[in-house]
Amino acid sequence: MRRVVCVFLPLWPIERLRRRSGPRGPRDAPVLLAATVAGRRLVAAACPLALRAGARPGMALADARAMLRTEPLVADAQPEKDATALLALARWAVRWSPVVSADQPDGLLLDVTGCAHLFGGEKRMMHAMRDSLARLGLTARVAVACTVGAAWAVARFGASAVAGVSPGGERAALSPLPVRALRIPEEAIAGLAEVGVETVGQLLALPRSALPARYGHAILLRIDQTLGAAFEPVDQLAEAVQFSASIDLPGGTTNTEALGLATRDVLADLSRQLARHESGARRVTISLKRIDEHAETVTVETARPTRDAAHLWALLRPRLERVHLGFGIECITAEAGAVSAVAHEQAALPSCAREPRPDERAFWAMVDTVANRIGRDRVRRPALAQSYRPERAVAFVPACAGPRVEPTPALDRPRPPRLLETPQPIEAVALSPDGPVVRFRYGGRWFDAARSIGPERLSGEWWRAREGHRDYFRVQDGYGRWLWIFRDCAGAWFCHGEWV
């Protein structure tokens, strides 16, 4: 006889977050998850503390706050991450049964037919499930029944946190539960409520033939599935599409030439798989299984998603050379990670050989090559930043991140190609407070200013620090050299750059 366990995690999004980030803030602070809906901040989930104080999912965050006595911890709801994490939890739950599925958004379904005795009977198994979930910091309600529907209903709406429905007892167990427990559409629930039907028992008392016209045909299916008249499977956990390719080298080899060829074949295979899905990978892991079962792995990362086997090979080759081959490699596997969509690229026809932006490609290939040797974070590139303060007008950003960032427009103002990291104090003489410079002393020598253009007055960024304005001058000395000097608001002179 079939037995199905349903695990319900009433506080899944909140507890998942707690698990991830650990206890943050005072222990007794209520927790709210917020979502922005049409420009308004709404409560997406609330912890029991907040629920007790009257906060409810769907209300405005500000209202919920007003109800709470203490300032709550507020975090953003992340439904996609919740869903992925639930899949991982389902995989973890395979320890109880081989047939497990994630019941999005906040539950697990396990087909435990023939499994329970391994854990000392259903009751013990359910308690064990609850305990191990509690050790993971998750509150759970567990129910077992002959159908998915009955287990689902009792787990969510039953009286106790752990419950079993004996075979044939579904109708009796479900009768006092609200009709919502049947997993029927909201409109049907509302329609039933209108005629006073609140519980499953009241619904089952109605003639079957009267229901579909009023509440849709799905309602009958749901009733049948719950009571066991219709079969409902527990979906096997589907694995996400995986990109991997491998090649067997029977008997193993230590011949680097052969290994190289084999690796390139594997990469080509991987590349074809990626191309079929119009995807590219930003991480490729090669594992080389030795005859002694030990596997050596090499991982390369690229700045942009790629499926260019040649490029990947170029990155891998120097790393593979350092792999310890032992008595020989008998299997090579390539796996793609961090996969994202990459549009199909038209291979150039030989006649109109116009490589698509070759210089850019070469550039990123170079970035990858260097980054894979010295570390991704260490490769940076200068980028313009929008600041009038010269020393902040340039910033170094990771080269690999964000090729999609909007380029900052250049300022239409002359700036010296060489900017001193810290302005050098100098002496200078001007005719009036904001007038041109006539003489200045730089590097220990006095110069007469042949030309002096300015002032360009630049204010400090008042929101950052207490900064005064500066008056910048472009000054040419007697040798034709242009310097960029400024006077700060206190009247002191500095040299800040040079045209070379």
């Binding site: 917020a34 922005t36 901040r41 104080a53 009257g54 965050l61 500000a62 209202d63 706050r65 007003a66 109800m67 709470l68 300032e71 507020v74 329609g191 209108e194 005629v195 006073g196 039907v197 609140e198 009241q202 008392a205 109605l206 003639p207 033939s209 009267a210 016209a213 009023r214 509440y215 930043a385 929008q386 600041s387 009038y388 900052t408 427009p409 300022l411 239409d412 103002r413 002359p414 904001d434 253009i453 300015g454 002032p455 360009e456 007055r457 630049l458 204010s459 008042w462 929101w463 304005h469 008056d471 910048y472 472009r474």
Partner: protein
């Protein structure tokens, strides 16, 4: 809860005049005029108010200053008023930013009245062809309106080749003698280069250069705010705004000497600024002369003759038995005054609107248009409205014979200002009047005034916080704390409490800049109903733009601007109570011998005053609020003027001025009345020596304080603004007290008078308005007393309005003996109606008399049949279709029949079933819904027939009465079956909760006795004057209880007190005469399922 109401943060300079400050001696300074000033009326760009800029320009010793906002003259009146205070010449200016050629900017200044008219027309043209708030102009438009305008071409930061072409085309328009090229020191690296190239260009084009500083704010320290405004405008944060901000903070007003130094190489450019100012000196806004529309009088008669004739006609109609000597004298006197001040066209204009409302005719004598739904009820109020002339013209219905109102009190020769008449129309039909005005006078001559929407506490913090990069949650938290923030300084303890570090630099900036931003205009909206109507083209006085609402046009100036310019405004306002009164009169008329109008309702009916004295006034006009009801048994109004006082006394002004208690004591004879002399008796006699009205305060200042009428008027304005400009009223106060002492009044009296005048602050209520309101109070009370069913039906048909929910209105009607019948598909129309005879469809489940009857004057009268408008989610079209089907085919017999014959969709049927409206078909709510659920809007007749055969109604669960009442509330907002609290009574008794009806028993519940009550929250109110105290009115099946909740108690039980629709509280009884309150100490969890009742109405 929303913020407490308060006045403007930046009062119009006309309302809050400044003392004249000494300017530096002009002769010593270089002559210079700043001609390019952008104020904050270029929204989210300018960083200073117009008056700040003008005052600063004057303080710096400039010869003149020109305000030039982008495609707008919205801030010009404020600047003009400020300039008059300081003697600096103000140039009217405007920065035209063209759509074609794109982005070309030209500053223009009119040199005379005609050129100003052309500028206004030009802007009107550009605005009317663009969406609200935008303006689309091309160089050709300028060409068409260029006469008399001086123009300054504004180059971009790096003027390109095309700029020379643009200068060329502008020179074709303006010639070489009316065009200048603007130069400016931006302190950027191109300054010299640009100056030189523009000088060359100017030379080549033979136009002179003129220097400006492109001012955005009046002093350098405003620069951070201007940066933040830029961020708000672009929807970015200060960190990310980058080059959208100004590179430096130089765009403030600079002293003439400094400007001369900066343009030492181009002295001509400085001199030209003064030259432009000189050539514009021929025009100032003072020259705008407002002209009343003239066509109000027929050709061949002067307006005055016409007014006299209309008044005589009206008097004959109003007084069929002959006009009394008193009224004749008043009419003569008023007409003389009107003639002297030439206000006749104004009175005729107002009369014309009223005439249209009465007759629906486009012109006098025309028949009303086809389909005219009948007269629109209206009532004038305001300074001149309560004159005998207005009574005869039909503008007001307050009989001068009955009310002792002298027109001099409202309209005087000394105060040369247009008389103030607001007209209230039925709110549902005001639009007809508005469209009549547009039709009659045309959109060129009539438009609504603007309303400047300004930054207030919360919006300021929100926008500044976002611009400064605070997270949305932080901004929320900060804005939420504004209940207490708005008043003054920020309490660091409270800031810490909500997780902010008060020492944080960013936070300090946010708080500081938010405070600076208060009162900054954000956009223009339309005034609720203030019309400006002119004789000549209005678009030559002020630019007109489209409003957000379709078919509305709005001028750029708001009501303060209009006042300052001495322009006439007629306020056409919507008043819900007029709708209600008209509907009640229509319902009551068949059962009444006299024709019912505002003027013919029998006056001074003692039965009506009996009812008022008992505070039995739920639903009537004005005196239905809790504070008013508490006052009625103490004030015991017995005549019309008592109502005038009642309306005015329960206002924040008199309450804050502590005038209420002295008045009550004197009225009850507990305190003697002493007048220092007859002059004061003259002023204060009507109100027993206590100044209650604004007019009295002014008059007192004249009579006792020796003020001139002009000064008294300034006092009135200072009263309106003293919170913002506190020092001003104290200066007036000193003058008043000194004046009174000099005239032999004792110090105590003088000081008290001043305190009382100060109390008026923003809320003083003019007697003229109170008189008009009092009439509506009386009429609505009369209807409630003599036609309770009709009055209740009219109230229900005019919802939403007033303080009370339909449930309370129905209950009140029942308490007065009116039989209320349920909504039924066979008996109800869209509106509530009156029925004679017995109920053809009596309900078996309705507890007929579950409401205790208090009065029986509704017994024997018609019954009130609830209309289908009470049913939530139903549209009138479907109800009308159903009524038509009923008329054509007789009674409705089945749901399918309703659906087929009337073509009503199932969704509408469902609403009706939810409201339990199929009882006449023998169906309960449950049965009807079950049947409707099987129906489908797709036409499948065969299936339908099959579905209705099986009738499992016996199998449907039993619906408990409490549940049925809850469904009633959900569907119609009320239940005739029982009160929701009655089902919990057993439980409440066990908890020791007292039924609200028993609190009236003084022996059982003496003062200070501890008591516990529970009920549905009807009203939550937090008056601005009550320092945070919240008032609740709750109701159970036995009656109403009034709760007082101190802020501390409210804070402690925020969740319970704020959100839930039912409450259970314990506290102590507070008795004051017949009025009983419960001073709440604790909120308890309710034992009743929330949502069983309606939502309360919350007022703040």
């Amino acid at each position: 809860m929303p913020e407490a109401p308060h006045g403007k943060h930046a009062p119009h300079p006309f309302r809050a005049p400044m003392a004249r400050a000494a300017s530096p001696a002009r002769e010593d300074l270089v002559p210079y005029a700043e001609l390019e000033v952008t104020t904050n009326y270029t929204f989210l760009r300018g960083g200073s108010h117009p008056e700040e800029l003008v005052r600063q320009a004057a303080a710096l010793g400039m010869r003149a200053v020109a305000v030039a906002d982008i495609n707008s003259l919205a801030g010009i009146v404020r600047a003009h008023v400020a300039a008059k205070e300081t003697d600096i010449q103000l140039l009217v200016g405007c920065r035209l930013v063209l759509a074609d050629p794109c982005g070309l900017e030209v500053l223009v200044y009119p040199t005379d009245r005609a050129a100003y008219a052309r500028l206004c027309t030009l802007l009107t043209v550009g605005k009317r062809r663009a969406e609200k708030g935008k303006c689309r102009l091309t160089v050709h438009d300028i060409a068409a309106h260029a006469d008399g305008l001086l123009a300054v071409a504004v180059p971009r930061e790096r003027p390109g080749e095309s700029f020379a072409d643009h200068v060329g085309s502008l020179r074709d328009i303006f010639g070489t003698d009316r065009l200048w090229l603007r130069v400016r020191r931006a302190f950027d690296p191109h300054d010299e280069e640009r100056l030189a190239s523009l000088a060359l260009l100017a030379k080549a084009a033979r136009v002179p250069l003129v220097a400006t500083n492109a001012v955005l704010y009046h002093v350098p320290r405003r620069r951070p705010l201007q940066d933040v405004l830029t961020c708000i405008r672009l929807g970015t944060t200060i960190d990310r705004a980058g080059y959208a901000l100004e590179a430096n903070g130089e765009r403030h007003l600079k002293a003439p000497d400094e400007m001369a130094r900066l343009f030492a190489a181009y002295p001509g450019a400085i001199a030209q600024s003064v030259e432009i100012a000189r050539r514009c000196a021929g025009f100032a806004l003072d020259q705008l002369r407002y002209q009343y529309p003239r066509e109000v009088a027929p050709a061949g008669t002067t307006p005055m003759e016409h007014l006299r004739r209309l008044t005589a006609q009206g008097a004959a109609e109003r007084y069929p038995a002959g006009v009394s000597a008193k009224v004749t004298a008043a009419l003569d006197h008023e007409l003389r005054l009107i003639e002297e001040l030439s206000y006749a066209p104004y009175f005729l204009t107002v009369h014309d609107l009223v005439r249209f409302a009465r007759t629906g005719a486009e012109r006098t004598g025309d028949p009303p248009p086809a389909g005219w739904p009948g007269p629109i009820l209206c009532q004038g109020r305001g300074a001149a409205a309560n004159s005998a002339v207005c009574y005869c013209l039909g503008v007001t219905s307050v009989d001068p014979d009955r009310a002792d109102l002298l027109v001099e009190r409202f309209m005087s020769k000394e105060r040369n200002e247009p008389p103030d008449i607001d007209i209230d129309f039925e709110h549902e039909r005001r639009e007809e009047v508005i469209q009549y005005v547009y039709r009659t006078y045309g959109r060129e001559r009539a438009a609504l005034t603007a309303e400047v929407i300004s930054y207030r506490g919360r919006s300021a913090v929100r926008d500044v916080g976002k611009a400064m990069g605070l997270s949305l949650d932080s901004v929320d938290r900060l804005a939420r704390t504004l209940d207490w923030w708005d008043g003054g300084t920020v309490d660091p303890v409270r800031l810490r409490g909500i997780g902010f570090n008060p020492e944080d630099r960013t936070l300090k900036f946010v708080l500081h800049l938010s405070r600076e931003l208060l009162g900054f205009p954000r956009h223009l909206s339309q005034h609720v109903g203030g019309f400006v109507i002119t004789d000549t083209l209005l678009s030559e006085l002020v630019p007109i733009e489209n409003a957000a609402m379709a078919d509305r046009t709005v001028i750029e100036w708001d009501k303060d601007d209009i006042d300052a310019m001495g322009m006439l405004k007629v306020d056409c306002l919507g008043l819900g109570m007029l709708t209600c009164i008209r509907k009640a009169m229509v319902l009551a008329q068949p059962r009444c011998e006299i024709p019912l109008t505002l003027a013919t309702v029998p006056a001074e009916d003692p039965l009506v005053y009996d009812m008022i004295c008992e505070a039995d006034t739920l639903g009537v006009f004005q005196i239905e609020s809790r504070a008013q009801m508490a006052m009625l048994p103490r004030l015991k109004p017995r005549r019309f003027y008592d109502l005038v006082i009642e309306v005015a006394i329960v206002r924040p002004g008199p309450i804050q001025g502590k005038m209420v208690h002295p008045y009550l004591r004197r009225r009850n004879g507990e305190e003697g009345i002493h007048y220092p002399n007859d002059a004061v008796r003259e002023v204060l006699g009507r109100t027993l020596g206590v100044p209650l009205f604004q007019e009295q305060a002014m008059k007192l200042a004249i009579v006792a304080g020796g003020f001139t009428p002009g000064e008294a008027d300034q006092l009135r304005r200072a009263m309106a603004a003293w919170k913002r400009k506190g020092d001003l009223i104290y200066r007036f106060g000193e003058k008043l007290v000194a004046g009174m002492l000099a005239r032999g009044y004792d110090t105590d009296f003088a000081q008290r008078c001043f305190e009382q005048i100060k109390g008026f602050s923003e809320y003083g209520f003019p007697e003229s308005h109170a008189a008009s309101f009092a009439l509506l109070v009386y009429v609505s009370c009369w209807l409630k007393r003599h036609h309770p069913a009709a009055f209740a039906a009219a109230l229900l048909n005019s919802q939403p309005m007033g303080f009370y929910q339909p449930a309370q209105i129905v209950r009140d009607a029942q308490e007065h003996g009116v039989e209320v019948r349920a909504v039924d598909v066979n008996a109800s129309g869209w509106d509530c109606t009156l029925e004679d005879g017995t109920d053809p469809y009596p309900r078996s489940d309705a507890a007929r008399d579950h409401v205790a009857r208090k009065k029986d004057w509704g017994l024997g009268g018609p019954a009130l049949r609830l209309g289908m408008r009470m049913v939530k989610g139903l549209s009138q079209a479907h109800v009308d279709a159903m009524a038509r089907a009923r008329d054509a085919n007789g009674l409705l017999t089945s749901i399918e029949w309703v659906k087929k014959r009337a073509g009503v969709p199932t969704a509408a049927l469902r609403c009706l079933a939810r409201a339990d409206a199929f009882a006449s078909l023998g169906l309960t709510r449950q049965q009807a819904l079950w049947a409707i659920q099987a129906l489908s809007d797709e036409d499948l007749p065969a299936l339908d027939a099959v579905q209705t055969v099986d009738d499992p109604c016996g199998l449907l669960p039993f619906v408990a009465p409490a549940q049925a009442v809850r469904h009633d509330y959900t569907a119609t907002g009320l239940s005739l079956k029982a009160h929701p609290m009655s089902f919990a009574r057993g439980l409440l008794n066990r908890l020791g909760v007292t039924p609200a009806g028993k609190l009236a028993d003084e022996a059982a519940f003496p003062n200070a006795k501890r008591v516990s009550v529970a009920g549905v929250v009807l009203v939550r109110q937090r008056p601005a004057t009550a320092s945070g105290v919240v008032f609740f009115t709750i109701e159970d099946e036995t009656g109403i209880a009034n709760l007082i909740i101190r802020p501390k108690v409210f804070e402690r039980s925020r969740a319970l007190a704020r959100g839930s629709s039912t409450v259970r509280v314990s506290g102590t009884v507070e008795r004051n005469g017949r009025v009983v309150h419960v001073q709440v100490e604790r909120f308890h969890r309710t034992c009743i399922a929330d949502g069983s009742a309606q939502r309360s109405r919350d007022f703040h």
